[in-house]
């Protein structure tokens, strides 16, 4: 089916929302409470549009497409509403983008930018609330929280870790961990899903913050998590050829095994790749001690040693342990080496263990 958005004819599939159809066509509609993984929440009204034949403004994150629908995202009324939302949010919190970890990776900032808002026209004076630094991997800055509720839905219904919820009422409403504990003392398991969905800088990763690396400086590469067998797809963010941080890969997230989620190991357990303990040279035992050696020397020792044992005791005197940690290609290569060039089927891996 087709609909018209801002004069452009756009293709859509039944069941899609107007917001989804617009985004699929590359048309910008802001959305602060809606996220593909957490669904529509109807809290922020940032996504409102006008639809021909319908009265008033409609929330595009909840509005299902109809064939022939005519939608406008740029009427004065729409822009006025968006402007008010952004102004209010900016004035209520402490949104100092200059020092924010989420600078250039913030949906509120992006919205303000699109609207040409440079500073809020009124400011509510308030003292800053100290950040919650108690968690090993996550920093919470409640002054930047826009109460969109994504993190609550993600924690309650996405990863079902049931830590975050809204507490207190009215202007005191706040996202809390358990019974308002510091995150590090709560039942939080540090899966990081709340950070992943937070549209602003209210929930950020501690490691890049401390290392002064912001998301816009990094390169993301899709990798498979090296830990358990779920095989989560991860965007490994790097800077200057070093680990920066990890996010769940969200491309086609609903078709991936991890549905856009990670656990604490995939989220925080990848920095070992830069560990100073990494081996950086072949080693050969000389007079009882392992000493640095050239590749040629090391490989010659291995080849000569294997050949000698093969000749003296036969091929079945050699054994190979392949690995549940390396790729299929490498496992294949090693078993081919053992079978074809040594001549033994003494090949096993540690998976029984």
């Amino acid at each position: 089916m087709h609909l018209t958005i801002d004069g452009r004819v756009v293709e859509a599939v039944p069941g899609q929302t107007v917001l989804e159809a617009a985004r699929a066509a590359g048309i910008y509609i802001p959305a602060l409470c809606y996220h593909p993984k957490t669904g529509k929440a109807g809290r922020c009204r940032a996504c409102v549009v006008e639809v021909e034949g319908l009265r008033g403004l409609k929330e595009s994150c909840a509005l299902l497409v109809k064939d022939g629908m005519v939608v406008r995202t740029d009427t004065p009324k729409v822009l006025q509403t968006r402007r008010m939302i952004v102004e209010l949010l900016l004035s209520e919190g402490h949104h100092n983008c200059i020092s924010c970890q989420s600078n250039a990776d913030c949906e509120l900032q992006e919205m303000a930018y699109h609207l040409g808002i440079e500073r809020p026209s009124y400011l509510v004076e308030s003292l800053p609330t100290p950040k919650d630094m108690s968690s090993g991997g996550i920093v919470r800055d409640s002054d930047k929280c826009i109460q969109c509720g994504r993190c609550v839905v993600a924690c309650q219904h996405g990863v079902v870790n049931q830590v975050l919820s809204f507490a207190y009422r009215g202007s005191h409403a706040q996202v809390v961990c358990d019974d308002d504990q510091p995150m590090g003392e709560s039942t939080c398991v540090q899966c990081g899903e709340c950070v992943q969905v937070c549209p602003v800088g209210a929930l950020v990763l501690k490691q890049p913050l401390e290392n002064k690396i912001r998301p816009h400086e990094t390169t993301a590469t899709k990798v498979t998590c090296p830990y358990c067998g779920v095989g989560c797809q991860i965007d490994l963010h790097t800077k200057d050829n070093r680990y920066a941080f990890a996010m769940a890969h969200e491309g086609q997230w609903d078709r991936q095994p991890n549905k856009g989620m990670l656990c604490v190991k995939g989220r925080f357990g990848l920095d070992y790749i830069d560990s100073p303990d990494r081996l950086r040279s072949p080693l050969v035992r000389k007079k009882g001690k392992l000493e640095k050696a050239s590749w040629d020397e090391a490989l010659d020792v291995v080849a000569k040693g294997l050949k000698a044992i093969q000749e003296k005791h036969g091929p079945d005197a050699v054994g190979f342990f392949t690995s549940a940690k390396v790729s299929n290609e490498e496992n294949y290569a090693l078993q081919r080496f053992g079978r074809a060039l040594i001549g033994t089927n003494n090949i096993d891996h540690c998976a029984r263990l």
Binding site: H157, T224, G319
Partner: protein
């Protein structure tokens, strides 16, 4: 996964993870899912909370999943066969089995049924500690709720009778008609990111890639033609058979990316054995406990530096990309192997995609997979042709071996039971924040800070009897060795039981464990052994 292969003709998880949403009831046994496969744990919890899927958890420990369960069966360590067979006894007694399915798709029912007669609810209560009412309720729920999926992990396989455990799982799924259907299945959750792939690639002593037996002349001919060399058709030795043969039948071992010094049971023995080798080669990214013993250490690269495929627990083949360039005098793992092959007069491919092409040429279940097809979203094998979508669940309509085999099972007690001297049941496993031998997670800042040292989970009542408080240093001893660690008081473990995570080399739980082997799968007994626990006197600590 020998148990699965003999009964179903294939050793992998039969169904996909996302099918939990299609199940009506789930039975999870021997898997602390939210710690060991946390993201799948989230999917499980979602299915229960949001889709109303029923959940039965069988575990001696009060794992987190218990909070989401409709029924929790706290069976004794090592009594899995009794428990599962007890459920089957009730299902058959009350005629709740899938009679048509049994008739059309299975064989061996009569002998199997006879073996199940033994497992009356009363007897099973005695053997497993699970009350008769709970057994009855669980059996009824499981057999009547609709399509049911069974998930298990190391808790099932790491026993001296792991193969019997797996057979009991398969039997349950067969008599309830739950194999070969969407949302059902027998699903072993793989513990490491490429266990499935390592098996698929022929990292086993009895098969080439894709489980083609080395004893099958046609397979031997095919591989020997492709590789252009004659090949052995003798089944090789397993890892746990090779270790004790070191210095006898085995004189050289080549280890790629593993650390058996920490992962193997009864560690003293492993160390002693490896010392008897004329040549120990370790190819790894760290100087692991095992690498420290090697004659030659070859530095490969981490997952983050390589292009290649990994096959997840649901058989899904996924492409992983290089995120950083290797630094230092290291080489890609496939290059190292190719460099060695050259010294034996053969040219191996030096690009992952060319190696993958060889895999496709030789392995029918991988034949239809290309890097291009799996670049964004992985595809589960079998995938025989390039226009095949891949296979989410196995055995639809027909089993690999024709009819599925219902196998008789017999109960045997754990290889080692408690006595007066060793009065506690020790089990080992993983915790959420760490992985396997800890060589990766303990070098990760945040994970290391989260849990720095090993510990032993101890029930508060058992602690009180011994005058132990939370955090006290204790010794844990078995007939094979002793370690020192700190006590963590928790009712996650039952009275009379203790649990030690095995990630910590300085207090390696595997110093304590039993190397009684499962007669067929050759999986060492990790889960159960008898132990003694004592507080270390403060004076003794200060002396150190």
């Amino acid at each position: 996964m020998a148990g699965l292969a003999t009964t179903l003709g294939s050793g992998a998880m039969t169904n996909s993870m996302e099918e939990v949403f299609k199940s009506k009831v789930l039975l999870v046994i021997g898997s602390n899912t939210t710690w060991n496969h946390p993201v799948f744990g989230s999917l499980l919890k979602r299915a229960v909370k949001q889709n109303g899927v029923k959940l039965i958890v069988c575990d001696p420990r009060r794992i987190d999943l218990v909070d989401f369960a409709d029924i929790w069966l706290r069976h004794r360590n090592g009594s899995d066969v009794a428990l599962l067979s007890g459920l089957q006894h009730i299902i058959l007694r009350d005629n709740l089995e899938a009679a048509d399915y049994i008739r059309e798709r299975t064989e061996g029912f009569q002998d199997y049924k006879k073996s199940i007669d033994f497992f009356t609810p009363e007897r099973v209560q005695k053997l497993s500690g699970v009350p008769v009412e709970d057994l009855e309720a669980a059996a009824r729920l499981y057999a009547t709720a609709g399509v049911g999926a069974l998930y298990y992990c190391m808790g099932i396989t790491q026993h001296s009778h792991g193969v019997d455990n797996v057979k009991s799982c398969v039997n349950l799924q067969l008599i309830t008609g739950n194999i070969g259907v969407e949302g059902g299945g027998v699903n072993p959750l793989r513990g490491q990111n490429n266990v499935q792939g390592a098996c698929d690639m022929g990292g086993l002593p009895n098969v080439f890639t894709g489980y083609q037996p080395v004893t099958n002349p046609a397979a031997v001919e095919k591989f020997s033609k492709y590789w252009n060399v004659p090949l052995s058709d003798r089944v090789g030795l397993t890892l746990t058979q090779m270790i004790p043969e070191c210095g006898k039948k085995i004189h050289a071992i080549y280890i790629l990316g593993e650390n058996p010094m920490v992962s193997d049971p009864n560690l003293h023995h492993v160390e002693e054995s490896l010392r008897k080798l004329d040549l120990l080669v370790v190819q790894d990214i760290f100087l692991t406990e095992t690498a420290k013993m090697a004659h030659v250490v070859l530095p490969g690269v981490s997952f983050a530096e390589k292009l290649g495929t990994f096959t997840n627990t649901e058989r899904r083949v996924q492409l992983s990309n290089p995120a950083i360039r290797p630094t230092g005098n290291v080489r890609q793992d496939y290059e190292i192997i190719a460099d060695l092959a050259l010294r034996f007069g053969q040219e191996f491919p030096r690009a992952p995609e060319s190696l993958f092409q060889e895999i496709r040429d030789l392995t029918p279940s991988y034949a239809g997979l290309t890097y291009e097809r799996i670049r964004e979203v992985g595809i589960p094998w079998p995938c025989p042709t390039e226009d095949h979508p891949g296979t989410r669940f196995l055995h639809a309509g027909k089993f690999a071996r024709g009819l599925a085999l219902l196998t008789p099972v017999t109960y045997s007690p754990p290889a080692e039971e408690t006595d007066e001297e060793y009065d506690l049941v020790l089990s080992t496993g993983r915790i959420l924040e760490h992985f396997h031998t800890g060589s990766m997670t303990r070098r990760s800042q945040i994970l290391d800070a989260a849990v720095k040292n090993g510990h032993v989970e101890l029930h508060p009542e058992d602690a009180k009897k011994r005058g132990i408080s939370d955090g006290d240093m204790v010794t844990v001893a078995t007939r094979r060795g002793r370690i020192e660690t700190s006590a963590m008081l928790t009712d996650r473990v039952d009275r009379g039981s203790i649990f030690i995570p095995f990630h910590f080399a300085e207090a390696a739980a595997n110093m304590l464990t039993n190397d009684a082997l499962d007669p067929i799968a050759k999986i060492p007994e990790f889960k159960v052994c008898a132990a003694r626990l004592e507080r270390i006197a403060v004076a003794a600590l200060e002396q150190k």
